[in-house]
C-alpha cells in the first residue's frame, strides 16, 4: 500500500502548489463534501462505480468463457483448427477498442435489422460485448501459454500410465496449468476495468460519463478528472491486491506438503 500513499501525497502536493501559487487554478469547492452542491456532485460521481464494476465483471466473465473456446483449437494437431485460433487472436488484437465499440453499437443493429431480427443493443450491452470480444483474444493467449508451459514430460507420463488425452488434460495438465492461468487472468480484469471508460462515449452512465457530465455543467475539469482518476486508482489497487493474494495462495499451495 506504499504505492497508494505515495500517489495520494503527490496529488496533495500538486493541489497545495496550485492553491498557494495561483489560486485561480483550483476550485475544490465543486467536490467539497461540506457544501450541499459539492456533496451532490460527489454522490453523482461515485454513483458510477456500480455501472463500471458491473460492466467489467460481466465482460470479464464472458471473456473468460469465450477465451477458453478460442484457445481450445490451438491445442489441436490439426493445422486448420490451429490457424482458426491464430486468425481470431491476431485479428481481434489488431482492432482498437473505440472503433470496435462504434461498430458493435452503431453497426451491428443495422445487420440485425437487415436480417429481420428485432435485437436492440443498448449502451450497456454494446460495451459488454465489445469489451468481452476484445479481451477474449488476450484471455485465449493466457490459456494457451499456461497449458503449454506444462512440460511435455507430464503429458508423456500421463500417457504411459494409460490415461486418455482427455484424462491427461483433466487430471494432469489443467490442475497444474490453472495455477499459472489464474493470476494473469485476474490481471486482465484490470485491463477491462480501465477500458470500460470507453463506454462513456456511447452514453453508458459509468464513472467517466458521469465525470464528463459534471464537467460540462460545472466547468471544473481539473478537480473532477482528478477525482475520476482517483476513483479508477482505488478500483485497480483493490483488484491488484486481490491478484497478489491469489498469487500468494496458489504459490504456497504448490510448495505445500499436503
Amino acid at each position: 500500500m506504499i504505492k497508494l500513499k505515495y500517489i495520494l501525497a503527490l496529488f496533495f502536493i500538486f493541489s497545495f502548489v496550485g492553491c498557494s501559487g495561483n489560486s485561480g487554478n483550483w476550485g475544490w469547492y465543486v467536490i467539497d463534501p461540506t457544501t450541499k452542491s459539492g456533496l451532490a456532485n460527489i454522490k453523482f460521481l461515485v454513483g458510477g462505480f456500480g455501472a463500471t464494476i458491473l460492466l467489467s465483471l460481466i465482460a470479464a466473465l464472458i471473456s473468460i468463457i469465450l477465451g477458453l473456446i478460442v484457445a481450445l483449437p490451438s491445442f489441436s494437431n490439426n493445422v486448420f483448427f490451429r490457424s482458426l485460433n491464430r486468425i481470431y487472436v491476431e485479428f481481434i488484437r489488431a482492432i482498437p477498442l473505440l472503433p470496435m465499440l462504434f461498430w458493435v453499437f452503431y453497426g451491428l443493429p443495422v445487420i440485425f435489422q437487415s436480417l429481420g431480427l428485432k435485437i436492440q443493443i443498448d449502451a450497456f450491452w454494446g460495451a459488454v460485448i465489445t469489451l468481452a470480444i476484445s479481451d477474449s483474444a488476450f484471455t485465449a493467449e493466457i490459456y494457451r501459454a499456461g497449458i503449454q508451459s506444462i512440460s511435455k514430460g507430464q503429458r508423456e507420463a500421463a500417457q504411459t500410465i494409460g490415461l486418455t488425452q482427455y484424462q491427461a488434460m483433466r487430471y494432469v495438465i489443467l490442475p497444474q496449468a490453472i495455477r499459472r492461468i489464474l493470476p494473469p487472468l485476474a490481471n486482465q480484469f484490470i485491463y477491462i476495468v480501465k477500458m470500460s471508460a470507453f463506454a462513456s462515449v456511447i452514453g453508458m452512465q459509468e464513472l467517466t460519463r458521469r465525470a464528463n457530465e459534471i464537467v460540462v455543467t460545472e466547468y471544473r475539469p481539473l478537480e473532477i478528472y482528478t477525482l475520476l482518476i482517483l476513483e479508477y486508482l482505488i478500483l485497480v489497487l483493490v483488484i491488484s491486491f486481490g491478484v497478489r493474494w491469489l498469487e500468494r495462495k496458489l504459490g504456497s499451495d504448490e510448495s505445500n506438503s499436503n
Binding site: E156, T160, G162, Q167, R179, N256, N258
Partner: protein, 245 residues
Amino acid sequence: MKEVIDINNVSKYFGKFKALDSVNLRVMRGQKVVICGPSGSGKSTLVRCINRLEEHDEGDIKVLGNFLTNDRLCLDSIKSKVSMVFQQFNLFPHLSVIENLTLGPIKALGISKKEAMKRALYFLERVKIPEQAFKKPNLLSGGQQQRVAIARALCLEPEIMLFDEPTSALDPEMIAEVLEVILDLANDGITMVVVTHEMGFAKKAADKIIFMDEGKILEENIPSNFFKNPKTHRSKKFLDQVLNH
C-alpha cells in the same frame, strides 16, 4: 519362450535426420535387455517407439502380439501393459505420492479407489518408501522421486517395463538405491528394457546387451562376451570410456 517385443527393420526420421536406421530387435518374455551407446545414438528414440511416444516411419513393431499403428484399438490394448520410467521422473507435482500412484489404476484400469490404495502402498513398500506416501513429490530426494516413479509404473501391473536412463539425473550417492530397486524387480521376472550407462548393473541384470550408434544397433551380445571381447571397434571404444571414467 514367447517374444513380447519384435522390432523389424524400423527406421525413424526427425525431419531429414535418421534417428533410427533399420533396427531389428527381439525381446522374449521375462528378458532383461540393456541398451547402451553414445549420446544421440537413438537409444531413447528406440524405447519411445516401443510405447508409441514416438511413431516409427518404416518397418514394423509388434508389442504383445499387436502391431503398433495409429489404430485406437491397438493402442488401447497395449497401453498400461507397457510402462515407462523417465530420466526426469516426470512425477505429477500437484498430486501427493499416493495420488501419483493411484491415478493410473483408477482412471485407466478402472479399479476401485480402495483397491488402488492397497496396491499403491504395496509397491511403495517394495521401493522402500512407504513413509513418504502422503507427501508432495518435490519434498523428496531425487532417488526417492525416481523410486516413486518406478512404483507408479508398477501399479499398472505392466507386462513390460521401459527405463530410459533412470539414474542419469541422480546424484552419485542416490544411484545405488535406485539400481537396487530395479535389480530387485529384475529378479521378479518382468520383461525389462533398460537404457543405461551403469555397466555394473548391466553385468548383474542383463540377459542381453544392445550397443547402438548413429541410429543403428551395432552389437547384440550377452554381457560376459560384451565386456570381455566386444565385437566392434566402436563398442570397444565406448566401453573404454564408460568403464574408465
